[in-house]
């Protein structure tokens, strides 16, 4: 069972989620060890930041649930743009905003402040996609949400790395 219950009900919304294969570690290249090479941020690097975020309901990562995928992460290092779309496991998932917020917070904390981050729902995958996207894009409401100690705690739970086995 999940470590934290956030749906407020005793029943799981998605009782039996489908599991997906995960990507392995990024392949190392010789120039990765060269201090003189400047590596721009790429989509794999940003994906690696968010793939291990915990699902609020299941003890599984967003990658294992296919909520985030490598090809749904767009990065333009030169233009300072990061665009992530995520796919809720079910179209009425009440935790879509929370998942989006966790992705935003993770990227906010990890990336240099020059980046403009957009986090939105994969088109067609959620019943309230427009409303959720608008809320996630509203930086004032995101800022206010992160001053809410309870909500911040819930988000932090999603961002804690599972203990290595």
């Amino acid at each position: 069972m999940s470590a934290v219950k956030m749906s407020g009900s005793d029943r799981l919304e998605n009782v039996n989620p489908q599991l997906f294969a995960t990507l392995g570690d990024r392949a190392r290249r010789d120039e990765d060890w060269d201090e003189n090479v400047t590596d721009p941020f790429d989509s794999r690097e940003v994906f690696d930041l968010i793939r291990d975020i915990n699902d609020p309901e299941h003890p599984l990562t967003l990658e294992q649930l296919n909520v985030v995928e490598l090809d749904k992460v767009q990065v333009d290092d030169h233009q300072n743009l990061v665009d992530v779309t995520f796919t809720p496991t079910i179209p009425h998932c009440s935790m879509a905003t929370l998942i989006g917020l966790a992705i935003r917070v993770k990227l906010l904390r990890s990336l240099p402040p020059r980046f403009k981050v957009r986090v939105s729902i994969t088109p067609g995958s959620h019943a309230s996609e427009v409303a959720v996207n608008k809320q996630l894009a509203d930086k004032e409401r995101v800022a206010a949400a992160l001053e809410n100690a309870h909500l911040l705690n819930v988000v932090n739970q999603c961002l804690i790395k599972p203990t290595e086995e």
């Binding site: 402040p113 403009k116 608008k134 894009a137 206010a144």
Partner: protein, 335 residues
């Protein structure tokens, strides 16, 4: 024309949400995530921190508003309260705290007459307060529930006791007092997303609004019996969107200000730029005015620009503040 950076004012910790000039243009109030209000004044050629107003709030101070007399400051905070500061004893002191909103307070504004204060909140309401400054008393005169979402900003008409607000519900609304109550007299619909801010022109006959939809819109007032034959609802004016400026910004536009002296409109937002617009010399038709961009200051700040404000007395002097933690002063110079 060139926008020349005069000075960068550092001192706040974290995001700076607001910068606003006192009516004389001698003090700049700034506020932000660090819950402080800083008052900046000029010493010689430099602008320096004169005062830090702290301990008024426990969370972000989103917006700071000066009264028309310059002796009062109202600060709107995410902690759900509005603090009122006055300088009856020489220094600004907090002598009242207004409570009542259920959620973050997003903005406050004093009526030019000094009779009213308005506040707005994420709880979707706009409150109008009767002001008795001698007694430090603020009585809630009306709770306006006209918006269906988070209300982002309130401002008063420059000449009349008419209040305007803008919201996450994509609309602007105008309110007037009617028989001891306040009523919504106009709804301005045309933006496709949240309206972050707006500004009246010098005589209050036009409003410029800016939005998450990356456009600026100019709204024209048509009074009852107007020459253009625009229908008005009874004794109240009709407001029509007469111009949309699109394609200039690639991110949400968070603030806009209309200079009462020069007529220049300044806007800024999520693409780090500050842009200035003015009505074209060839613009004639009140129904379809033309506006042109005067200049773009790209990368005015290194992150989102949250607020821009023209100095009310020194023509061309502009203040801006940003998520990058800085406040900047600029001058618009003819070249």
């Amino acid at each position: 024309m060139v926008l020349k950076e005069l000075q960068s004012l550092t001192g706040h910790t974290g995001r700076v949400w607001n910068c606003s000039w006192n009516p004389k243009g001698s003090l700049l109030a700034t506020s932000g995530e660090d819950t402080h209000i800083r008052l900046w004044g000029k010493e010689g050629d430099q602008w320096v921190t004169k005062t830090i107003l702290s301990e008024g709030h426990t969370r972000t101070v989103r917006n700071v508003a000066w009264s028309a007399c310059g002796n009062y400051i109202a600060a709107a905070s995410f902690d759900g309260t509005v603090s009122i500061w006055d300088r009856k004893n020489g220094q600004f002191e907090c002598n009242a705290t207004l409570e009542g909103h259920e959620n973050e307070v997003k903005a406050a504004a004093w009526a030019k007459s000094g009779n009213f204060l308005a506040t707005c909140s994420r709880d979707k309401s706009v409150w109008v307060w009767d002001v008795d400054q001698d007694e430090d008393e603020y009585m809630c005169a009306s709770v306006l529930q006209a918006h269906t979402q988070d209300v982002k900003r309130v401002k008063w008409h420059p000449l009349e006791d008419t209040l305007a607000s803008c919201s996450y519900d994509n609309r602007l609304k105008l309110f007037k007092e009617d028989d001891d109550d306040w009523v919504c007299v106009s709804t301005l619909s045309s933006h496709d997303s949240s309206v972050w801010s707006f500004a009246f022109n010098n005589d209050g006959s036009r409003i410029a609004s800016c939005s998450e939809d990356e456009t600026i819109k100019i709204w024209q007032e048509f009074k009852p019996g107007n020459e253009q034959g625009i229908k008005t609802p009874g004794k109240d004016s009709a407001w029509k969107c007469v111009c949309t400026l699109s394609g200039y910004f690639s991110r949400p536009i968070y603030d806009i200000d209309w200079c009462a002296q020069s007529g220049f409109i300044v806007a800024a937002g999520g693409d780090n730029s500050i842009q200035v617009f003015k009505e074209s010399d060839t613009s004639q038709d009140i129904n379809a005015p033309e506006f042109e961009k005067v200049l773009t200051q790209s990368e005015a700040h290194s992150e989102d620009v949250n607020c821009v404000s023209w100095n009310p007395t020194e023509r061309g002097l502009l203040a801006s503040c940003s998520d990058d933690g800085d406040v900047k002063l600029w001058t618009l110079t003819d070249c």
